[in-house]
């Protein structure tokens, strides 16, 4: 059964891969039950009913700081969801997240140029290597001076935290493209930029996307840190607020919701990589 060449059959493999989930859920339910028998008002490990109520509540009613009356007399289901706390927070965090992802692409281009053009490489590489080792969170006061504490600061925190990794990765990927191919490009009459953009970039592109994919967690980590430090909305803002009175009945749904969103983004990127680069099989 535990051989390297073992071939699990479909049903058993399915069972095997869900076992830990089942155990986790059972342990949770058991803990919740025990704690609620001991103390019916327990907040720390909410029951499934409390979790569902919490989720429905967050997805159908406006946030506490918003006006209850903004929805009008008889809002439709969609209006309710659109005006809800969960949607508001997801939209706020989502916006920051997407802007940050978009800002990773200039980082890729910088890495490409650094790898392809030695002078640009020499100019930037030491600095980027140095910056890569700076823990963005530890120099927060400087970031506050430079960027304030608004939206811009949160996005900059993510960019400073994650972009150096992406730049270095694209740089290394560019370096790893065989010189023969570059020379071949030139013999076929390509210019410098043409080699960079038409020979090197298409080859490293799926790997670069994959690198961004692997850094999604870093992006979200910095996003959450930023929102927990100072903000007026967002998924982490809500979690930080709820933590203050142990509102685990809302925190757990928020955490699962964030995990789901991250999973969907990850899957989407994976599908895009597969679809646009059918030759690439590393994902």
């Amino acid at each position: 059964m535990f051989r390297v060449f073992a071939q699990p059959n479909r049903q058993l493999a399915w069972i095997a891969s869900w076992t830990l989930f089942a155990i986790g859920i059972c342990v949770y339910l058991r803990t919740a039950q025990v704690r609620h028998i001991e103390n019916p008002e327990d907040h720390i490990v909410p029951t499934v009913k409390q979790l569902v109520t919490g989720f429905v509540h967050s997805a159908s009613t406006p946030a506490e700081e918003d006006d209850e009356g903004q929805l009008g007399e008889h809002p439709s289901v969609w209006q309710r969801i659109y005006g809800s706390m969960l949607w508001k927070d997801t939209a706020a965090s989502g916006k920051r997240f997407l802007i940050s992802i978009a800002l990773m692409f200039p980082a890729v281009l910088l890495g490409l140029h650094m790898g392809a053009f030695p002078w640009i490489g020499r100019f930037f590489i030491k600095f980027v290597l140095f910056f890569d080792k700076i823990i963005a969170l530890s120099v927060l006061p400087i970031l506050f001076i430079a960027f304030g504490i608004g939206e811009f600061a949160k996005i900059m925190l993510i960019v400073i935290g994650v972009a150096p990794t992406i730049i270095l990765d694209s740089f290394n990927l560019t370096k790893s493209v065989p010189t023969e191919q570059v020379i071949k490009g030139f013999t076929l009459g390509a210019g410098d930029l043409c080699v960079a953009y038409h020979v090197i970039l298409p080859q490293i592109w799926p790997r670069v996307l994959n690198s961004i994919r692997l850094n999604l967690k870093g992006i979200v980590l910095f996003l959450f840190a930023g929102e927990m430090i100072a903000s007026q909305d967002g998924l982490a803002y809500r979690i930080a607020l709820l933590q203050r009175h142990m509102g685990m009945d809302l925190i757990i749904p928020y955490v699962l919701w964030t995990a789901l969103l991250l999973f969907v983004v990850d899957l989407t990127l994976k599908v895009i990589i597969r679809a646009t680069n059918p030759w690439f099989r590393e994902v």
């Binding site: 103390n39 008002e41 720390i44 304030g148 504490i149 430090i229 007026q232 009175h245």
Partner: protein, 357 residues
């Protein structure tokens, strides 16, 4: 090798047996405290042997353990520590609201200017409308801000203020370095740091709401009511130790004691004294007892409870503020009689006042 293992095992078993024997003789209690002007004495009490002395008198072992503030309350609510220093607001919205019956045995002090609303480029509450105010939301900071507006009859303007939830670890830098932030609500020593900056004025502080933000020592009621009576012994011991500490802090050698306290919390004597100046510390148990049993106590705690309720801090299963009832020293209950979750017990302070500890 085998011999070593055997020896180790024997040693281990003996030490286990010894510690079991010790704990069988003397029940042990842990007090969680966090850095704050009114709680820093706990560490000093542990260091100078006051806790040991009073523990020995009542046959209990008392340990003081430092936490960060939020984790200290989490540990208390999770029943990992027996007693914890916290404010009245947190006592209501964390342990009590989570169904952990909680009793306050020492009312140590109240904030008399420790918490403040500081603003730049303005001097009226009205002009903060549609501007940003930094604060740690859902804490005494937000309570203070709300009280500032209510006391100035400007409740309707409060809704227009944009609150930015800002972590206390970065609130000073965030406010001072970003001049687009109109105001900040926080506590000392952060307040003192911000006040040093130019153009910042204090618009409101907790000296205008004396006795509403209380700093307490709370014990889990089940610990206090242990059938073997050890909980009550613990309460007597810690109260006795506390008021001996208070005597030392206000006595002839006060400066030496205060610098000792400041040192354990990594503060300086001038800074600690400055914080004490805006803290109404009850040095005499009789003062604390009189304050705790005064009728005004109910009114003030009622305001805090209402705040917690209207901000949803009491949790989803609390339908009205009365679902979280408070038992006062005179036996009266604020809220539903069958839902008492928070008790103010002045009897230990009374014993201390009478010198019967």
């Amino acid at each position: 090798m085998l011999l070593l293992t055997k020896r180790f095992l024997a040693f281990f078993l003996i030490s286990l047996a010894l510690s079991a024997a010790a704990s069988a003789q003397q029940p042990s209690f842990t007090v969680a405290w966090s850095i704050y002007v009114g709680w820093d004495p706990y560490q000093y009490m542990a260091k100078t042997g006051l806790l040991r002395k009073w523990g020995a008198k009542y046959g209990v072992t008392i340990k003081a353990q430092r936490f960060d503030y939020a984790p200290s309350i989490d540990a208390f609510t999770a029943k990992n520590v027996d007693a914890c220093a916290m404010t009245n607001m947190e006592a209501l919205d964390l342990p009590a609201a989570s169904g952990v019956d909680t009793t306050a045995i020492i009312v140590g002090d109240y904030s008399n200017g420790n918490d403040a609303l500081l603003v730049r480029d303005t001097n009226t509450l009205g002009s903060l409308a549609s501007k940003k105010v930094l604060l740690v939301q859902k804490t005494v900071s937000e309570y203070l801000l709300e009280r500032a507006y209510v006391l100035n009859h400007a409740d309707d303007l409060l809704r227009k203020v944009k609150l930015v939830n800002t972590s206390d670890s970065s609130i000073v830098a965030a406010f001072l370095n970003d001049s687009s932030q109109a105001g900040v609500v926080t506590w000392k020593p952060l307040v003192s740091q911000i006040r040093q900056s130019k153009g910042v004025t204090t618009l409101f502080d907790s000296s205008k709401i004396p006795g509403e933000i209380l700093d307490l020592l709370v014990v889990r009621t089940e610990v206090l009511n242990r059938p073997d009576g050890s909980g009550q012994k613990f309460a007597k011991a810690i109260t006795g130790a506390w008021y001996e500490m208070m005597d030392e802090m206000s006595g002839a050698d006060a400066d030496k004691v205060l610098s000792g306290i400041a040192a354990v919390s990594e503060d300086t004597l001038p800074s600690y004294k400055e914080q004490l100046s805006t803290t109404k510390l009850f040095y005499k148990p009789s003062e604390a007892y009189a304050f705790t049993t005064a009728p005004a106590m109910k009114e003030k705690l009622g305001l805090v409870r209402q705040f917690c309720f209207s901000h949803g801090l009491l949790g989803a299963n609390i339908r009205s503020a009365d679902d979280l009832a408070i038992l006062y020293p005179d036996g009266s209950v604020q809220g539903k009689g069958d839902r008492v979750r928070f008790r103010i017990n002045a009897s230990y302070m009374q014993l201390a006042a009478k010198g019967q500890l």
